[in-house]
Symmetry: C2
Subunit: 440 residues, 2 copies
């Protein structure tokens, strides 16, 4: 569940709320620079934003997790090495090109890190690079280095909002979540949108804190927080080659070991809120689905079944159409169980949607009254109505989240005490337009 | 590869070709009856077709394979029992409602079998039932039994085309494939369209032969043929609760053991052709993709990787848009390898699309000329252009397959001698409209 229950009437209201959440923790500054360039692979002008997050003083207390995709981007390859460095001083992020399997990609990323370090007076190994965007293209290193002075000049300790805006690609709006612990705070930003089924890590997420928590403790807490947040979401079942989540402490505010539990709980909440933000703003998502699988023998069984449901294309389409076609829900469960856990006894399974029992004792429990109530539940969870254009291209008509409601699905396996909530979205014309109609 | 390379200018040409393939093998008759009824779950009129396939004399020589979905339909539950019966005399198929997890579903299906048997003068256990359509609704048993005499009266030994038309749901056209072996023949029909990723069985497929091949041999041959045909396709990764493939011999034409190899090769070809027909007419499919994974250590590795590619939503969308976004292809490979075969050495992997090398030695091989050639390859494989309507609903403008070309993708893992070809389709507005726009 999100820690909030927000409702926004328009984009201005959403931006005002984002601004209210955006104060940087002590010890950090952020700045961005935007520029035009021409990719060599498909020569037409493109725009890129450089986002720089800088610590007042390099810190030993940082953590990061990365994608399990077998073709990680160059920044992920470098980032894994940075984990062994004694300190982190800055993060440099670019959008538009993800620098994945591009010839010479690692060398190019290291050049950008070195130039960033030179401007900041730190060493290249203290810079963590991140890239997101088209897979396969090469970074425009010269144009990036030419834009760096602008990003450095824009550095400010006031707000993380410019950085939250700088890292996005097809996101409709920036994402910021915060929590307080004693005198300190935790502030996170995320970009998501598409190619989202994180596996042991996630899209691009940067979480900053001024609370002084040591490196090893930070890393253990981040692993647990990611496992119960970003690792339980899927927009389209595709695992990005660039997934990165980084957590950095400036150490400006003391944090006693007695406060660690509160810190970890706050961190987990920030991660869960950002994960839900990422799903709610997933490419083409018009309904967020929250699938709670309970009564499972273990957490992994529950999580895998939840993911099988939120990734089942026919059920996703039914949700998009406000159609309580629960036959497709049971099909998705049956496919997963038949293929991956054939020994599971499904005869005791029951299922609910919007709190209404739809399946029990091996048979559906459907009638016209339930159907009407289920349609109402689906309509209430819809974020916006489709608005087709004359050329058949669908684009979301809003650039803010109007509410935080979800399609609530509960599967009870009645075969154990474990539970997992998995978030996903529907499959819509807006998703297809975003990913098929931009060229042809 | 299909055994044919057909090109059809219009629906009439396609129908003429179907008619030329439709002669029933000796010893079989087929007939259909269409009627209106009102489902109890969502009271508005619907239409159902009953399709009856009858042997002149019940035969011991039949085989069938069924879905691995953990919630199989009532006909699948009954069908598994029928495999132990000494003989099969008829197959009764209905569309519109799949009879899956409906209260009393097995009893209803048995009642329909008994009434069919009574009309034909055989025993109920000699009747194999099949149902396809909405999951969760109950069969209209009384209306079906009232329509049975019409289906019996329509029985004819001429053509399987009425049966091929009778079993469809959202299919755009009927599917018939045939092969000859000596003086006998093998004729198969299929319905497919959506919820198609068969697992050890498939949608509804009925293959009839007059060649006298004994039961055990038939069953072994069918298992092998299905494994290399229907088990290598996926339209939307959803495994139906009703998948059934049945193979029945009337035994009218002698088949010596020396001819078995020829029979099995012909059977495999009919299965492969039907499987490709099912993909080509998959819901919303505008491009068929053929992914050949070679150089694999074993068949299952190759098949699983091929399926991961044809099921990757972002890559499917790119293909729909005639966009050679090969970064998404490599992402799909990397996701699967990272999650399921992390020990595989991907550094030697190479990839081709339309015969053009796009990836080798860990890096992309892209340039503007290749991009132009890849776009041409995608356009040539397109079955039709999207035609949006004013209300945003997309419907395929054709009811025949204009050609048998595919998007040709080759992944060479260079780590073994095994190979598998997997067929799939793109992800289109037509798929979303078929599955989300029919109500709201």
């Amino acid at each position: 569940m999100p820690s909030t229950n927000l409702i926004f009437a328009n984009q201005d209201a959403h931006r005002a709320w984002l601004a209210s959440q955006a104060a940087l923790p002590a010890g950090f500054r952020a700045g961005t620079a935007r520029f035009e360039f021409t990719p060599v692979e498909a020569p037409k002008p493109a725009r890129m934003t450089l986002t720089l997050i800088v610590l007042d003083k390099p810190t030993p207390d940082f953590a990061a997790m990365f994608t399990r995709n077998a073709f990680p981007g160059a920044p992920v390859i470098i980032g894994r090495k940075r984990l062994a460095e004694p300190a982190l001083g800055a993060i440099i992020v670019n959008n538009k090109i993800s620098n994945v399997c591009a010839p010479g990609g690692v060398e190019t990323a290291e050049r950008v890190c070195a130039e960033t370090a030179r401007h900041l007076g730190i060493s290249p190994e203290q810079v963590l690079p991140s890239s997101t965007g088209v897979i396969g293209w090469a970074l425009p290193a010269d144009a990036m280095m030419a834009a760096l002075p602008d990003a450095v000049a824009a550095l400010s300790g006031d707000s993380i909002l410019p950085a939250a805006e700088g890292i996005v690609t097809t996101d409709l709006y920036p994402k910021i979540r915060r929590a307080s612990v004693g005198a300190g705070s935790i502030v996170g930003i995320a970009k998501g949108a598409g190619m989202i089924e994180p596996n042991m890590a996630t899209m691009l997420v940067y979480i900053l804190t001024d609370l002084a928590v040591p490196r090893d403790t930070l890393r253990a807490m981040l692993a647990r927080a990611v496992d119960s947040s970003f690792n339980t979401i899927s927009i389209d079942s595709d695992t990005s080659t660039s997934d990165t989540v980084a957590l950095v402490s400036s150490g400006k505010v003391p944090c006693e070991p007695g406060q660690y539990a509160a810190f970890e709980a706050a961190l987990a909440q920030v991660c869960r809120d950002l994960a839900e933000d990422v799903v709610r703003n997933g490419e083409g998502v018009r309904h967020v689905m929250r699938v709670i699988v309970k009564g499972a023998s273990d957490l992994e069984t529950a999580r895998a079944l939840g993911k099988a449901i939120v990734n089942a294309p026919l059920f996703k389409c039914a949700v998009a159409g406000n159609d309580p076609n629960v036959g497709r829900l049971v099909q998705a469960v049956g496919k997963h169980v038949g293929a991956h856990m054939p020994s599971l006894d499904v005869s005791r399974m029951s299922a609910r949607m919007g709190g209404i029992e739809i399946f029990a004792n091996g048979a559906f429990r459907l009638d016209p009254e339930k159907e009407t109530a289920l349609v109402a539940h689906l309509r209430e969870a819809e974020l916006y109505r489709s608005a087709p254009t004359a050329d058949g291209v669908f684009a979301p008509p809003i650039h803010y989240p109007p509410h935080e409601r979800s399609v609530e699905i509960e599967i009870d396996l009645a075969s154990g005490g474990c539970e997992c909530a998995v978030l996903g979205g529907d499959l819509t014309h807006e998703y297809v337009s975003e990913n098929a109609d931009y060229r042809s």
